[in-house]
Symmetry: C2
């Protein structure tokens, strides 16, 4: 077998990567610059193929003429129960949303559990029940799964991986490469609720808010958006790393400039206050029920109306546009009228947010 | 939203389960009786749907007329590097095999990493490289993925989840329900190599053997088997819980009796010796490159020949048959000529074997 392996290795272009660090840091999981370094220096060069190159939330595949979207996420959120949801609900909605962001209709979900020895079974039952309810709400079926147990102290109660399969209608092509100057950028409501909720729920960071996680399945909203326009260029859910990281990924991939207006970004007053107290920038805080839409300016108004008429989009807003200036950069007009570059998240605002 | 949730819950039949234990035990992950209890009392009643009811290694789905197999597994093996492989290779081969056991051709794989803060990036690179090599060997592409990081002491270096999609040719129907009296039971070689290797590699259980894990992609072997016979009734890879648990699952699901002959089961002498020293029954020890075939007796000989002519099946053997007696039970004729019931694994032989 060693000959076979050598043969295959010889065919790979696997340069030994240069690391800034030689060990995994929490920030490698934060969705920002270090996450991207880990992917671009370790994972992508070795796994390299045309599906991964698209850097979508999921892969778009074709099998016997049927176009499918396929995506996976692991959930390690801490605490596992929080206002507005729990790790199970999050695990279903998150993968449903990644499939939806490809423009596909999610159909089937897998569930892989890694349980820590000693985790209480009643909590597991509640989490599994939430997953079923979330699946029913999103119209998907959990069709296959796996359960592993690790020794006490080698896990943290429960980690859940979900993978999902969706089907793409003909003609739908959602990709950063379709962005063009003048495209309008829309969002379906208030940002940063999920991240601030997790922070509030964590030991040592409790303060009084009534904010809840925005975890929700976005596939029905996406379906309504695609019904009213065939000029949707990008859909992205700004989870880890928040709106700032999502916009930076798109700006970099599409080599376009993005201009956003701070005043137009919907935000809850309590969330704003919490961010100020904690010195956090809400643009970098995770959302679990929000999507960003890049749409041709011709269709922007009707798409915004369709979003506003959906239960998950009542507070939808136009927050920016694609511009000719500063390709690869996101620039924000601030509340006081100045402009600042909005970079990719560097370091770690909040580990284990999802 | 709470109304929506209540509405949906009301429609579910979710009896509060009775547990023998109120906390997760290591044995809940062992692939034996307690694993089945966890599934049958918590997971299956809540997730209940026709795909899960089939209790296959993966789900067989239909999307727009295309038949797909979909499967997932998380890998938590300890140690992460062992003679014959590592966690990454195992994670690719394991999901490739689960798809192949549905009779499908595996095509696409997802990879979800849960890394512990402090894990060294050079080990990660080696594991990712092994995954690419394993994927190339099996002819599949790793098309989508995810990376999370958990705090030091809340994980164990690296856990990997893979999910996979395969395509099923028309006419292929692999299912325990197709078993009938007289079916011959074949295996593609020596059992228990993987489990004994992991044991040898673990601290405190080292003894001198040259045994290596049998981790291998079985899809090509399955393809050869399906090429020579359309009378293949069941394919199963005896991983966690070993050959004994796999046969028990099939006997229970198909309500058939299974008779096996201890003398006919291929086993390495070193593995046999190690099991005797450690007081372990090799029938319950995990394999990662073996498959059990149930085939109509008319085709048994030609299938066995096809298996023997494959590099992964040189030591293939017929180990038993489906009988009219003792439906739901596996009975073994021992080396000394007596008979004994081979039960499902109860308790835990070896945690974190895969």
């Amino acid at each position: 077998m060693s000959e076979t392996l050598t043969d295959i290795t010889a065919g790979l272009s696997c340069p030994v990567p240069k690391f800034d660090y030689d060990r995994v840091l929490l920030a490698h999981g934060g969705g920002g610059t270090l996450s991207h370094q880990l992917l671009s220096r370790v994972i992508f060069p070795l796994f390299k193929n045309r599906w991964l190159d698209s850097e979508h939330d999921g892969a778009v595949l074709e099998i016997d003429g049927v176009r499918l979207a396929f995506s996976t996420d692991s959930y390690v959120v801490q605490p596992i129960f929080f206002p507005g949801g729990n790790i199970g609900e999050l695990a279903v909605n998150g993968t449903v949303n990644d499939i939806a962001m490809c423009g596909a209709t999610p159909l089937f979900i897998s569930a892989g559990f890694i349980l820590e020895e000693g985790f209480d079974l009643e909590s597991l039952r509640k989490i599994v029940e939430s997953m079923r309810i979330a699946a029913d709400r999103a119209g998907v079926s959990i069709v296959t799964g796996d359960t592993k147990v690790v020794d006490r102290g080698k896990g943290d109660k429960i980690f859940i991986n979900t993978a999902g399969i969706g089907v793409l209608k003909n003609g739908i092509d959602i990709s950063p490469n379709r962005c063009k100057i003048g495209d309008q950028i829309l969002i379906n409501g208030r940002i940063a609720d999920h991240g601030v909720t997790i922070m509030s729920a964590r030991e040592g960071l409790t303060f009084e808010t009534t904010v809840e996680s925005d975890t929700a399945p976005l596939n029905d909203l996406v379906s309504k958006i695609l019904d009213v326009s065939n000029k949707i260029h990008v859909l992205r859910d700004p989870t880890r790393g928040g709106v700032a990281s999502a916009l930076n990924e798109i700006a970099t991939k599409a080599e376009i400039g993005i201009a956003i207006d701070e005043n137009s970004i919907p935000m809850d007053d309590q969330v704003k206050g919490a961010c100020e107290i904690l010195g956090l920038d809400p643009l970098y805080i995770a959302n679990e029920g929000k999507l960003i839409v890049f749409v041709d300016s011709l269709d922007a108004e009707k798409v915004l109306e369709a979003m506003k008429s959906h239960p998950l989009g009542a507070e939808s807003a136009q927050i920016g546009e694609v511009v000719a200036d500063h390709p690869g950069r996101v620039v924000m007009k601030t509340q006081i009228g100045s402009s600042r570059i909005v970079d990719m998240l560097s370091g770690e605002q909040l580990p284990r947010i999802c």
